[in-house]
């Protein structure tokens, strides 16, 4: 589904990724673990197509097509979803408006049915119930006055509505208490399927107790330096990242 080939990228003048290789098949869950500043978020932004994140060499293939020169909206329409580490507050834009715009944009690109306000709100409300999210959130401005936990849950809600093929979760557990981590993990598990792939970026293996990865990659200095199964995450937890230096 996703193939990252010898990816080098930079933000402005600064080179961050130094040859990342990653191959993700449908249904797989990959965890990417690494210390602060190792370039994990840069990898997720580069895959999502954030402006100013330049690919210097290498390529990113999504369903066998190169996406490195496409716009972020195109990537989202193809089925890539980035759950932000720090979801933004958008003043004056209501959740339901925002999500309907996004949903219809994705539907339109994929020749699906675009929904009017009534039909869409029904769908959105259904998703909040499925994910146990307070329905009042959808009437509010995007992330406006949301707690840390609500923001993360809101990312999961957006993901549920847009139904992407590839979910990239940038530290979905950061800043959350144990109950909230469990609830976010439940959400991710509900959205999993054999045809969808997941990348979880995290510092700690805590969330991996609930979302069991097929592969764990250790990310340092802008590249993957070691790959393994879930046991690698436990090793990190026990001994820290220093052992890889």
């Amino acid at each position: 589904m996703l193939e990252v080939k010898d990816l080098h990228s930079s933000v402005g003048e600064k080179t961050i990724l130094n040859g990342v290789n990653l191959n993700i098949k449908p249904g797989e869950i990959h965890a990417i673990m690494g210390p602060n500043g190792s370039g994990k978020s840069t990898l997720s932004y580069t895959i999502a197509g954030k402006p100013n994140y330049t690919v210097n060499s290498g390529d990113i293939y999504f369903e066998n097509q190169s996406i490195k020169d496409t716009l972020p909206e195109t990537r989202a329409q193809l089925g890539i979803f980035l759950s932000f580490q720090h979801p933004l507050e958008i003043a004056g834009v209501r959740m339901d408006q925002f999500m309907r715009s996004a949903y219809n944009s994705v539907q339109k690109q994929n020749n699906g049915e675009e929904l009017d306000v009534l039909k869409f709100n029904k769908l959105l409300k259904g998703k909040t119930e499925e994910l146990n999210i307070e329905a009042g959130l959808i009437q509010r401005y995007v992330n406006h006055g949301f707690s840390g936990g609500e923001r993360k849950k809101n990312e999961i809600l957006q993901m549920a509505v847009l139904n992407p093929k590839l979910m990239i979760l940038d530290e979905p557990d950061s800043g959350l208490d144990i109950d909230a981590v469990r609830s976010v993990a439940d959400g991710i598990n509900k959205l999993r399927s054999d045809s969808k792939s997941t990348i979880i970026i995290t510092h700690y293996q805590r969330i991996l107790n609930y979302v069991i990865p097929d592969y764990v990659h250790i990310f340092m200095d802008g590249k993957i330096i070691e790959s393994g199964d879930k046991s690698l995450a436990l090793k990190v937890e026990e001994k820290g990242y220093e052992i890889f230096n």
């Binding site: 999502a48 954030k50 972020p72 329409q77 933004l88 003043a91 004056g92 834009v93 944009s105």
Partner: protein, 446 residues
């Protein structure tokens, strides 16, 4: 005065002298006295051409406002032309249809619905004939040397709006004032001087919606003076949408007097005009009176919008709030100069002010200047001002969900204006209409 300055006022002196006899014949004596006083002051002071050392006109050039030579027109008549066709069909309609309709400043009674029942809703000309004793105090009290443009209006105004609400009266539906610029053929550069006088006796409540529309060919100077007198416990909701021709200059001088427990809510939307200047002077003279002022300006191309607000808290326990926002496109400019004065002994005043600007182009400029004059300790005041562009991080957040960059910008820009609509205290009809006009304008830019 320099020769250049004299040359700018001279034509208007001669126009005034020409029409003076007409005023003397038709108007009541107190009106002529007011005009004479204004004339003396005008001859002495002229216009505020100097920008250096003049904070009030620092960012708006009066020379540019008066670049063209404006003249009075006799009457706008065009055979059998149906002026009703000039009124946009989508503006809110109410059962009561209290409507005053003006073309180039001239009252069109045949297209207006006036009322002389409990509440008087009529043209000022008619008001001067029928209710001179009510109107007189509010014309005579204009200090002669006040503001140049107020004097300029006093010299030339011939008509306008007169609304009088007796004690304990309420008009359930809004009263509409519709101002239309109409021009065929070569632009005539007309000087239009409307005058609005609204008096609310104790415990009365009214709502006014003013709509201003321009024709592309118009290139006028509309210099209006409005005065709102709010007696004890009265309430006025006022909403004004201005969409004059982009070649027309528009100066509004508005004075609001608030007595005890009275409330004034205003909304100014500026879409049109070349140079637009809104002077809003609020005097909170009675205890517990309150004023909520909301404004939105959306200049484009070379438009210039200047909001000057002075809120004078002359009594204890008074409240005021100014919330203004601007979205600027092209090489437009905006000025916001909001002053709050809290007088000695005006304890427990609560005053706030905010002006935020979103610049959609690199060529647009927003000047925002708060000023506080506080002479009392036990009060609460706050202000905020900001200028910025569309936030790139927010834009990425929206596009990362599949929304096109264009649509994402539309959402963000509308979102920027959203809290203005939340603050509107007018009818749902008015709000919906205003919001539609704003969205139409904004979407056309993105």
């Amino acid at each position: 005065m320099t020769t250049q300055k004299i040359s700018k006022i001279k034509p208007y002196i001669s126009i005034y002298n020409n029409v003076l006899s007409k005023f003397n014949e038709t108007g009541p004596s107190f009106l002529n006295a007011a005009k004479t006083a204004a004339f003396e002051s005008f001859c002495q002071n002229g216009f505020p051409f100097d920008r250096k050392g003049n904070e009030d006109w620092k960012y708006t050039d009066v020379n540019k406002i008066l670049e063209k030579q404006y003249t009075l027109i006799e009457e706008t008549t065009n055979g059998t032309f149906d002026y009703a066709t000039l009124i946009p069909t989508d503006i809110p309609a109410y059962n009561t249809k209290n409507r005053l309709f003006f073309v180039n400043g001239e009252f069109k009674p045949e297209l207006s619905n006036i009322s002389n029942d409990s509440v008087v809703i009529d043209s000022l000309k008619k008001g001067l004939e029928e209710y001179p004793s009510i109107i007189a105090p509010y014309l005579e009290d204009q200090p002669a040397n006040k503001d140049s443009f107020i004097n300029f209006n006093t010299l030339f105004f011939q008509d306008g709006v007169f609304i009088y609400a007796p004690p304990k009266t309420t008009v359930t539906n809004p009263i509409q004032i519709i101002n239309i610029e109409y021009q065929t053929g070569t632009p005539k550069n007309i000087l239009i001087s409307p005058r609005i006088l609204v008096i609310l006796e104790p415990e009365s409540t009214i709502e006014i919606e003013e709509y201003c529309f321009g024709s592309n060919l118009s290139s006028n100077l509309i210099n209006s003076v409005s005065k709102y007198i709010l007696c004890e416990s009265s309430k006025l909701h006022y909403s004004r949408m201005q969409d004059f021709s982009e070649s027309t200059n528009n100066i509004n001088n508005t004075e609001v007097i608030l007595n005890k427990y009275s409330t004034f809510n205003s909304f100014y939307l500026d879409l049109g005009g070349n140079i637009v200047r809104n002077n809003l002077n609020i005097e909170l003279i009675g205890e517990e009176s309150s004023a909520n002022m909301v404004g939105l300006y959306l200049p484009n191309n070379k438009q210039h919008v200047d909001n000057q607000i002075i809120v004078d808290h002359k009594s204890p326990y008074t409240y005021s709030d100014q919330t203004y926002k601007g979205i600027l496109n092209g090489s437009s400019k905006s000025v916001f100069h909001g002053s709050i004065i809290v007088r000695e002994n005006s304890v427990k005043v609560n005053a706030s002010q905010e002006d935020k600007n979103l610049l959609l182009s690199d060529q647009s400029e927003a000047y925002t200047k708060p000023a506080f004059w506080i002479y009392c300790d036990d009060i609460m005041c706050k202000h905020g001002a900001a200028c910025g562009q569309i936030d790139k991080e927010s834009l990425f957040y929206l596009t990362s969900r599949g929304i096109s960059s264009k649509e994402a910008k539309q959402l963000l820009v509308r979102g920027f204006a959203a809290d203005i609509f939340n603050k509107l205290k007018t009818t749902t009809n008015n709000k919906v209409y205003i919001e539609e006009q704003v969205v139409k304008r904004l979407d056309s830019w993105l």
